[in-house]
């Protein structure tokens, strides 16, 4: 990963409370796992930024090294890597994800 990509990724997770790196867009997810992640964030009703990794090969490969995580989607909350869609689902079902958003003071969507 180049320094440039690293700086861009760091900038994205620093500038947004919640960032989802995904395949496709929230309206048109290009993969079932990304679609599931979007559905979970929708249920939580939080403000989030999404990054479509399919638009940029540098970001697509870079994020895997950045997080030390092999798959997309990837969720960041307040600069901290939370995990992929399986972890999101587990945490959502147990109420932990909602709790995390509240503890971190993440804004609710209008």
């Amino acid at each position: 990963m180049t320094d440039d990509i690293h700086a861009r990724l760091q900038g994205l997770v620093d500038a947004n409370d919640v960032v989802l790196f995904m395949k496709g867009s929230p309206l048109f997810p290009q993969c079932g796992f990304s679609s599931r992640a979007i559905a979970i964030l929708g249920h939580l009703n939080v403000v989030f930024e999404s990054v479509d990794v399919l638009q940029d090969q540098g970001v697509r490969q870079g994020i895997k090294a950045f997080s030390d995580w092999p798959t997309i989607p990837q969720l960041y909350v307040k600069g901290e890597f939370v995990g992929g869609s399986d972890i999101m689902m587990e945490m959502f079902e147990s109420g932990e994800l909602q709790q995390l958003m509240e503890e971190k003071g993440v804004a609710q969507a209008a």
Partner: protein, 78 residues
């Protein structure tokens, strides 16, 4: 190329010898699996680290040959 469930289990067991591993073939096509891994060595680790330990065991196959592995992890119940 799809992977056999036994191969996935062997890789995980080699890296995490105390693991109890349940592999489910979700679609019956040898390509969409769910893995449930329970290990004492996970105790005290955040879920992200538990999953990373399993991914490390799979040695780079995750996200490549294994696109569709649904993973859940846990520590043994007391």
């Amino acid at each position: 190329m799809p992977m056999a469930a036994d191969d996935i289990e062997t890789l995980i067991r080699t890296a995490i010898p105390d693991a109890q591993i349940t592999i489910t073939d979700l679609a019956g096509d040898g390509d969409h699996y769910a893995a449930h891994v329970v290990a004492e060595s996970f105790r005290g680790l955040p879920r992200v680290r538990q999953h990373q330990a399993v991914y490390a065991a799979l040695g780079g196959r995750m996200g490549g040959v294994l696109h569709a592995l649904q993973l859940t992890t846990a520590v043994p119940k007391e």
